[in-house]
Amino acid sequence: MFIRRHKLAPYLLLLPSLAGIGLVLVWPTIQTALLSFQNFGLGQLSGTLPTQWVGFSNFSTTLADPEFWLSLRITVVFAAVVVVLSLLVGTLVGVLLNHLGRKMATFVSSATLLAWATPVASASVVFYWLFSADGGVVDWGLSKLPSWLGGGPHWAAYNWTTSGALPAYTVLTLLVVWMGFPFIATTVLAGLKTIPAELLEAARVDGASPWRSFRTVTFPLMKPIFLVLLLLSIIWDFGIFTQTYFVTGELGNRDEYNLSLYLYDKAFTMPPSYGLGAALALILTVVLLIVTVGYVRASVRQGAIS
């Protein structure tokens, strides 16, 4: 290699990345940890008040707040539902793409990639509008459905976004699954293409049904991919902010906060309490890091670090 002679070369090449990652990702994480043990408000921000170390009081305040527990419950249930649904829909669409002809597969995968490409802010306002009580097409459709399908005139002008967590998170589930399944479908499709055709052919000759050959041949071979997708989905869906920020009405409905909204509200709504926000950010970060450890182990086992 051209600069192998210089022992320092790799470190010099790494320097800009390390500086960027260190200053914008690693150092702020350390700062978050420090802030979480401080009382840090407007006074400290403007420098008129000195730094005030308060021990674990931000954490005890948080744990004593019923709103925290509500937001945590919403976050966990929402993440569980969305992870399962995105993996399910993504896998089904991936399998479908694998069975379609070339032109049809290109058409369907282009359509799904458009959903993935739509900016989060656009997708969020569009879903808000689809489910709007005034002029929304979903309420109109539901009100025209026959009652044995759950429709009926009571759906007209139904308010999805301010009627509590369940309706709002129904919209959010559809939104997040809509944005998330294309990535899973694409990855599953790529994994399916690596499975030797002879194996599936052998299963078919032995009289295995499609479901059985998926369960006994495809799934075991795809397990590492599914594991990575599962962990990535958990990490993404647990920390969702932008979509919930829009659909629950820009911090307008406290009973619809997930952990990220609760955190953001504590830190930035007047009067701001950056220390309290940092304690919550630390909790969120630690939860995600635990999942990340699993993700890193799965990646290493797959030979990604080579």
């Binding site: 470190y11 914008v24 694409t186 930035f268 990646s299």
Partner: protein, 304 residues
């Protein structure tokens, strides 16, 4: 598929059972294609509804029977967004578009260059902490933005980088780095070493080898990776929302959409026109580089 012509041949000769098998295959194909069309239409529906709403006059937006295609299409919503009348913000859409394009283009260039250097280090050198560096990349890309935004808000306020697009560029570039390095190293590793060594023997210096041999060969990889920094910068919401407070002329597009959504929530035609305009560039970009993207996407996901 390979079984099909064979069974067709047999069907021609023997008819009966084989013929039924052919027709079953045709039915199956038809069923699969129908499911494919349904999946595509359901997926496209929100996007199509957004575009159709953007062309509707307000009487049709709030009509008791919503029409999929506007009966009296109008450009009124778009012109309102363009001339700044929408949401009463008094600033044209193009100002926000320019901000977003500026932030995105600089982020993509910066992140590509910096991550290419790191990718060369990782793909071409053996050094201590190499594995640790790679694992660190996997970990830091998981850090949630809404956790980092608190200390960075305090820091950037201290050095005067709030209400400043340069501040956002620094954050977006750093956010894009881990995945970019992770993906690019595979592309660098795929370039045959012989080429570089041959050039070096012919007397080319390291810089020349980099620009004349390595760079052109890694360029497709750079395109694939740049999509992710593009998305990061074009989509990013939390930092822009927090940092761009007072100066509306600095808003990037997602913050404009948010402002519009918060202020003029009755003007759905205008909001849909704004989000359509915000979505179009990224959709065009995607369709343009789709094939490359899928490759990069999969390399990133499957290999870790």
């Amino acid at each position: 598929m390979t079984a099909l012509p064979q069974s067709l041949g047999r069907a021609g000769r023997a008819g009966g059972a084989a013929g039924r098998r052919v027709s079953r295959r045709t039915t199956q194909r038809f069923a699969l294609n129908s499911i494919g069309v349904i999946v595509a239409l359901v997926t496209l529906f929100p996007i199509l509804w957004m575009i159709s709403s953007a062309f509707k006059p307000s009487t049709e937006l709030f009509s008791l029977t919503p029409q999929p295609i506007p009966l009296h299409p109008t450009l009124h919503n778009f012109s309102n967004v363009m001339n700044g009348k929408a949401a009463g913000i008094g600033i044209s859409f193009w100002v926000f578009a320019r901000n977003s394009v500026f932030v995105t283009v600089v982020t993509v260039v910066l992140a590509s260059l910096v991550s290419l250097l790191a990718a060369v280090a990782v793909a071409r050198f053996k050094f201590r902490f190499r594995a640790s560096f790679l694992i660190m990349l996997l970990i830091v890309q998981m850090l949630p933005a809404q956790a980092l935004v608190i200390p960075l808000f305090i820091d950037f306020r201290g050095i005067g980088l709030l209400d400043n697009l340069v501040g956002l560029i620094l954050i977006y570039s750093a956010q894009a780095l881990p995945l970019s390095v992770w993906l690019l190293r595979n592309f660098v590793a795929a370039v045959p070493r012989d080429l570089e060594e041959a050039a070096a023997i012919d007397g080319a210096g390291p810089v020349k080898v980099f620009w004349r041999i390595l760079f052109p060969l890694v360029a497709p990889g750079l395109v694939a990776t740049s999509i992710f920094s593009f998305i990061t910068a074009w989509n990013e919401f939390v930092f822009a929302l927090t940092f761009l407070g007072t100066d509306q002329a600095k808003y990037t597009l997602p913050i404009y959409v948010q402002y519009f959504f918060g202020r003029g929530s009755a003007d759905w035609g205008g909001i849909m026109a704004a989000s359509t305009l915000y979505t179009i560039p990224v959709v065009v970009f995607f369709l343009f580089v789709q094939r490359r993207m899928v490759g990069g996407l999969v390399a990133g996901a499957v290999k870790g």
